[in-house]
């Protein structure tokens, strides 16, 4: 290794366009990273953060991935790209040894061919023909650094979300890169998991690694960064030190979440405020409950979930009544059974004791697909719920049988307008939407059926500021129409801002908070 290297990464992206697309995903972006520093790239969902990160780390390369005009400079070596066939071709293995990238979906970092955490860590070293003795030492060192020492013999497929993310970071840093680019490292982690990642990143910075954080939230870690770059619709709209940018219009327009700043605003949307927002109003007491659970108990049998002991009780004697127009939030620690509770509302899971009633009728024995006409459920992973070729067809799916041909399209368009996706309706493939928009599209498909009950599983996860606002608006509008809303969330502040009542699920029982 050369002595006294002052590796710096500089990138100038005039335009980067994916093959088969006409609009560049990134244009006019410049970024430079110095060793040992923390840099944050902030932007909403679909702003091009991930594309930028992958381009910097040679995960996306000119030629195979798309057309790139601009330059990349690493450690004094400058590569210029003109979108021509004779452009330099980056050697991904060598580039990534110096500039490593950890994707948002940590699982996609894994090779899927290694049986233990230790072997997964060593995979990259094996491919570089590292002698076995060195490999053993490097694995031990990296495991200690990432807090994986106790998990080295585990199968990577059995790790929790936080452990998986640490393994992905470990796989990236085992080759001792000069730069590390992390895409949403805190996404869908609980507080404890986030804290460990934060600690790990601080440690890396302290030992001289230049860290680039790609995030849609200006959270605690981003606050420690020396430099912020705000990315909006594929281009840089602001750059500077955090103190200058916090509260700036550019940050707000980009849809970046600033914790503690915008939550009340998301609920109090100007323009339409028919329902009393945060006030836990009594609601129309005349009506029967939209959704009622009576003494519901449930346990997974042993063979369905291995290793949980003999038929573990997840729910016991749960009573719940949600009136039309009422918004209820259910919170609780990870693994308390919140999602399990939600799956009882439309019959995906059937209670072992008690009864679930929708609009006064028991759903016992009614197929899920039929209950779906009156119960809309939004899952955590919208991708599984989407399957059509265009956004409009997606929202109109199944409406024709319910409302007739003419009305189906009107309703679909209205639902899309309600979540701000009108512009994408006809031409866009659902898979090409940003994660935030996919969630909103899934919400629109549910709302278009005007269900009596709306159940949302962790609706805020992964949404940027615009997404949160639209979600809040759509949920309120649904409640104003008389929909009974139940949302499961670990985000207590969001629950306080939107729900009329908050319940906590703990030890299988529900209680008012």
């Amino acid at each position: 290794m050369t002595a006294a290297t002052r590796t710096a990464l500089r990138a100038r992206i005039d335009a980067f366009t994916f093959h088969g697309e006409s609009r560049p995903a990134l244009r006019d972006v410049t970024l430079s990273v110095t060793p040992g520093s923390l840099t944050a790239v902030l932007g909403g969902s679909g702003s091009g953060k991930s594309t930028l990160g992958k381009l910097l780390a040679a995960w996306l390369r000119a030629g195979p991935a798309g057309e790139f005009r601009g330059s990349l400079e690493l450690d004094g070596t400058r590569l210029d790209f003109h979108g021509a066939p004779d452009d330099p071709r980056i050697n991904p293995a060598e580039w990534s040894r110096r500039v490593a990238f950890v994707p948002q979906d940590a699982a996609s970092m894994l090779s899927t061919v290694r049986a233990t955490v230790a072997e997964e860590l060593a995979f990259g070293l094996e491919l570089r023909a590292t002698p076995r003795a060195d490999m053993l030492r490097a694995v031990e060192r990296t495991a200690a650094r990432t807090g994986l020492s106790g998990l080295l013999d585990r199968d990577p497929a059995t790790l929790s979300g936080g452990e998986l993310r640490r393994l992905a970071v470990g796989c990236a840093v085992i080759a001792e890169p000069d730069m590390l680019i992390l895409d949403e490292p805190m996404a869908s982690l609980d507080a404890a998991g986030s804290a460990r990642i934060e600690e790990l990143i601080r440690g890396l910075c302290a030992t001289g690694t230049g860290v680039v954080l790609l995030s849609q939230a200006a959270d605690r870690l981003a606050g420690e960064a020396m430099h912020w770059t705000v990315l909006d619709a594929g281009t840089v709209t602001a750059a500077g030190v955090p103190a200058q940018l916090i509260g700036s219009a550019a940050l707000e327009h980009a849809g970046v979440l600033v914790p503690g700043v915008l939550r009340p605003e998301a609920a109090a949307v100007p323009g339409q405020a028919p329902a009393p927002p945060a006030a836990p109003g009594p609601g129309p007491a005349r009506l029967e409950p939209g959704l009622e659970l009576r003494g519901v108990g449930f346990g997974y049998s042993q063979d369905q979930r291995r290793g949980t002991g003999p038929r573990q009780r997840v729910l016991r004697d749960v009573d719940l009544a949600v009136r039309p127009g009422e918004i209820i939030a259910v919170t609780g620690p990870n693994g308390a059974g919140k999602s399990t509770l939600l799956r009882h509302f439309n019959g995906l899971l059937r209670p072992t004791e008690g009864d679930v009633q929708v609009c006064g009728r028991s759903i016992a024995g009614v197929p899920v697909g039929t209950v779906a006409a009156s119960v809309g459920l939004l899952f955590q992973h919208p991708r599984d719920q989407l399957f059509e070729r265009t956004v409009l067809r997606e929202a109109a799916f199944g409406l024709r049988q319910l409302f007739g041909k003419a009305e189906a399209e009107d309703r679909a368009r209205a639902a899309l307008a309600g979540v701000g996706l009108s512009a994408a309706a006809g031409a866009v493939h659902p898979a090409e939407l940003s994660a935030s928009q996919q969630r909103l599209l899934a919400l629109a498909t549910v709302l278009a059926r005007e269900p009596a009950v709306l159940a949302l599983d962790e609706p805020t996860v992964g949404l940027d500021r615009h997404g949160l606002e639209r979600l809040g608006r759509a949920v309120e509008a649904a409640a104003a129409r008389g929909t009974a809303v139940v949302m499961v969330t670990h985000d207590l502040s969001y629950a306080r801002a939107t729900a009329h009542r908050i319940l906590e699920l703990d030890g299988g029982c529900l209680r008012e908070l």
């Binding site: 093959h19 697309e21 006409s22 195979p64 071709r89 060598e94 070729r389 090409e432």
Partner: protein
């Protein structure tokens, strides 16, 4: 130790000729085995199970499949290589799903055809052969059919290359022709290695031809000519449906799709690099 370069030069064509020879040798091995088997098929199988023909069929076809894999696999780009496990899983899972609908077909090559369409004939052939080898982990009887599976993947790639997937109605036609060829090539395996077919429905068709006095190989070949073209027609149609349901960003990342304009629709606005 000198630092490796951050960039790579254009891959040289020197190794290309060796690989091409291996490919040709693999294809020749399969073709020669087939011709040999047809010419020397036992006149009277009543003398005993056709062990000789079975060994020749197994040896020749497996050698061909392995040569093809050895020729193609090391030069496949990683983006195609990672799709092969996906294709294998799709072959298995979609095959089972189709089985659950009660349709009288095996539909076990959807993933192979999809790879052929997206990544070209060579990748398709490797996927087909590997599919049989990996699947034989759970069902050893598919192993001898590796050559036929490679042929299906190869022909799917060729069909895509000459533009048969640009028109939706041409895809089943391409599948039909592929089915004829693949069925004929696979028939000696069914006849000499297994002595029949693994399904009762197909078995009944073979029985009918046998009742008319055909030799076993002829009867199984005729049966294959009845069921395989239909089956592959369906498989190609499903693969076309899937290819068009995928977003353009996904399909256009394949140089093969861009270069030969495999799928209908306007070409990307940016000129192909």
């Amino acid at each position: 130790m000198s630092q490796p370069a951050l960039t790579v030069t254009d891959p040289g064509q020197a190794a290309g000729r060796g690989r091409r020879l291996l490919e040709i040798a693999g294809a020749a091995s399969i073709a020669a085995t087939y011709v040999f088997l047809v010419l020397t098929q036992p006149a009277d199988i009543a003398n005993g199970p056709a062990s000789f023909s079975a060994l020749v069929a197994l040896g020749g076809f497996l050698l061909g499949a392995v040569l093809l894999i050895v020729a193609v696999l090391p030069v496949l780009p990683t983006s195609t290589l990672v799709l092969i496990p996906v294709a294998l899983v799709l072959n298995v899972v979609l095959g089972q799903l189709m089985g659950s609908t009660g349709l009288p077909f095996y539909i076990d090559a959807i993933g192979t055809v999809l790879i052929g369409v997206l990544a070209g004939p060579a990748a398709g052939a490797a996927t087909g052969a590997l599919s049989s080898i990996v699947w034989s982990f759970f069902n050893p009887t598919v192993l001898p059919f590796a050559a036929g599976a490679a042929l299906i993947g190869f022909l799917a790639g060729m069909a895509a290359r000459i533009g048969l997937f640009r028109r939706f109605y041409l895809a089943p036609v391409a599948g039909f022709i592929t089915g004829i060829l693949a069925g004929v090539v696979s028939a000696p395996i069914a006849a000499f290695v297994f002595g029949g077919t693994s399904g009762l429905g197909t078995g009944a068709i073979v029985s009918a031809f046998r009742a008319m006095g055909d030799t076993l190989l002829a009867a199984i070949t005729k049966q294959a000519l009845i069921s395989d073209p239909m089956d592959k027609g369906i498989v190609f149609t499903i693969a076309a449906l899937l290819a068009y349901a995928l977003p353009r960003r996904t399909t256009f990342q394949f140089p093969f799709v861009r270069r030969f304009r495999v799928l209908a629709g306007k070409a990307p606005s940016a000129p192909d690099a």
